[in-house]
């Protein structure tokens, strides 16, 4: 349906959960929400085809989408939670240490503005243990910027998001899960998918530091986010409340069974017989 369904290997994770070939997920009859957002679950500029479902993460997002005229928003929960259902359990005993820190990132059409050096100073003054900086591919590929972070700690990238079904790192979420499981804390300067995933993977969340901003960003939205989710902001938010709130945003408790999910995504067995040269997404 849309190439964003393959971002971060979401379609691949859902296919594996449904017992289908994770390397070749069938075409999804709708749009899978590819990241946490405070609108209707669709990415910016996604050309929406009327009548097709938007598979959103949470009931709150569905309500918001409805209020924006999206009548077919359907709650399935975040693909990351589906990964947790079938991923091998974390190694025992849990060897968690330090903080995995996700600096606010840009993308093809908008770059982040602000001082990374100042942010790093703030992070290092706050975090007690070792810090792993996880850069988005957009920043990771910037050698100069990566070098700035490398001076302060370990720097990683979970992989390439993918574009037009090309070069997608279909194990993006798998990499992210194993890194999150190795850390005590997950932090960022903006509330984002990574924070929610971190909570789901057992980390204590924190959102602090210079929030920086995107080119042409609507800053009112960022302020609205801080007002709505204060329990997730701060250097050390109360873990229980933060966890409750984060899991709700991921749609915890709303995950479908493989059979139900297959029927929702248009993946019933009679429809998923591979055709030669079938178009993905």
């Amino acid at each position: 349906m849309h190439h964003a369904n393959h971002f971060y290997g979401h379609a691949h994770v859902l296919a594996e959960y449904c017992g289908l070939d994770p390397e070749h997920p069938p075409r999804i009859e709708g749009y899978v929400q590819h990241g946490w957002n405070v609108v209707d679950g669709l990415g910016i500029g996604t050309p929406y085809l009327p009548g097709r479902p938007i598979f959103v993460w949470s009931e709150q997002t569905r309500r918001r989408a409805w209020s924006m005229g999206r009548r077919q928003a359907t709650v399935i929960g975040a693909p990351f939670l589906y990964l947790l259902r079938f991923a091998p359990p974390a190694p025992e005993p849990a060897a968690r240490a330090g903080t995995i820190w996700y600096p606010f990132h840009g993308w093809e059409s908008q770059q982040v503005k602000g001082s990374h050096r100042r942010l790093i100073d703030e992070i290092m003054a706050t975090e007690a243990g070792p810090v792993t900086f996880c850069l988005y591919w957009n920043e990771y590929r910037d050698d100069r910027l990566r070098a700035v972070y490398e001076k302060a700690g370990r720097v990683i990238c979970h992989g390439y998001r993918g574009y037009q079904w090309q070069d997608t790192d279909i194990r993006f979420l798998h990499h992210q899960l194993s890194e999150l499981r190795a850390h005590q804390r997950v932090a960022s300067n903006r509330l984002s998918s990574a924070i929610f995933y971190g909570v789901a993977a057992g980390c204590e969340p924190a959102v602090y530091g210079d929030p920086m901003h995107l080119e042409r960003e609507d800053r009112a939205t960022a302020e609205r986010i801080r007002r709505q989710w204060p329990e997730l902001h701060g250097e050390r938010p109360a873990p229980a409340a933060a966890r409750r709130s984060a899991l709700a945003e991921l749609g915890d408790g709303y995950l479908a069974s493989p059979a139900e999910l297959r029927a929702m995504l248009g993946w019933t067995l009679d429809r998923t017989v591979p055709e030669p040269g079938a178009v993905p997404a």
């Binding site: 009859e29 709708g30 050309p47 085809l49 009327p50 009548g51 097709r52 479902p53 009931e59 569905r62 009548r71 077919q72 928003a73 359907t74 709650v75 408790g253 709303y254 479908a256 069974s257 493989p258 059979a259 139900e260 999910l261 297959r262 029927a263 929702m264 019933t268 067995l269 009679d270």
Partner: protein, 501 residues
Amino acid sequence: MIRLIGGEMPGWHEDRPPAGGALYGYLTDQLPAGASVLVAGPHDHALIETLAARTAVTCLVRSQPEAERLDARGLDVLCGTLTKLTEAGRWDAVVALDGLGRLCSVEGPQYDWAESLRSLRNALLPGGVLLLTVENELGVHRLVDPAAATAARTDDAWRPLGEFDDSKPGNPARLAGRLAAEDLALGWLGAAWPEPGSPTLIATPEALRDGPADALAAVAASAVATAYRNRSVLSDPRRLAAAAVRGGIGPELAAAWLVIAHRAPLPATPLRAAPVLLGDGPVLEIGPGPDGEWVRRVRREVPGRDHAPAGPLPPGRLLEELLLGACLRHDLPAIRGLLTGWMAALPDASPDNVVVAGETFAELDPSVPARADVLSGLATTLLTGGYAHPWPAATDLRTLTAILHGAAGLPGDVPAIPPGDDPPAPDSRREHEEQLRSLRRLLADADARAEQYELEIAKRDTELTKARVQIATFSGSFGYRMAKLGYGVARKARQRLRKRT
């Protein structure tokens, strides 16, 4: 024997069936044997004959052919209009289960409700009992009727007053007041469903108030469902009846009220009936048992007819309503819990015959035959009823059934159950409207998608043309490409030579 009292209608046949049915039969059986009884208005012959077998019956009808039929059965008949009934204080009991609307003929004065009541009261001996049905003009049967009572064009509708008869009471309290004003003491009142003519459920306001409201609402919905199979209605009477009972206004929106009233003085043992009577053949009573739990008691059996067994009335709310409520709230965990519990406990029972109390799923009436395609039935209800649910993009029955199958935790895809005949549901205008709206939306969505596909195809065509040129440039046999390359080199060399010259 027929006695023509005046105002009779020769050659007249009533348009609508007479009052009758199992519950009216059961109630008239409660009249003391040996009493003299006036059966006023059209009543089912079976009811009259059963009564006549144990007591002295006189019938009052306006239709002369009907009077002759009753006479042929050996009954005592008064034929004419109510205004000519002048015998005061003659009967121990008056049975008017057809109400008061078909007692006056076209001849002579046209009594309103209160005048008719007074006339029947006068016919009673002191202490005599009146069994009377009062149609509720705001009853569920009226609210869902596509036709207005005041627009009736049948032969008997020469004065279709409907709700404009101001003398007719509009609720049970006012009915009691009108009876008291006529020196009639109300002994018992029951709210009746689904229709005044032959109710299959009669429940007292006290039972509806103090009894298991959810289960009684389910019983009311079930009674209405049977009567309205395939019938054209404005909106679904099952939901209306159940919502009224649950909301505490069951009696106010019941199709009719049935009263047992005594002309003063009240006898030492006034006639009363059970808190709840149920049945369309077999008759069951529902009421509090010795330990406070509500139980069913079988009062009358009919050979060859199944009925719900005696014993505790399963408590809880109707599964279908719980599922619809959870769907409207988009409460997926609750929906999945209900579907899973249902499929584990009673996979062959239709959701309108299952009540749920906590984790317990029980069949409301175990005598209802099993169905193999209950999930498909639920999907049909969701789609045709236009109910909001968590899978709005699943607009076809097959997909929604498959989703429900998965949501119920059943393994694999939907097995190939041939869909049975859908349970005959009321044919609701509101649902027609919803289906029209839904089809319009689907069509508009499909149009918009087709337009976007056209744009996408145009874009892909441009890309394809470009790609074909590139492919042509870099494809072909080695000799062909060498020749092409040589030709290109030769052309450039010639151009250079030309420039030099």
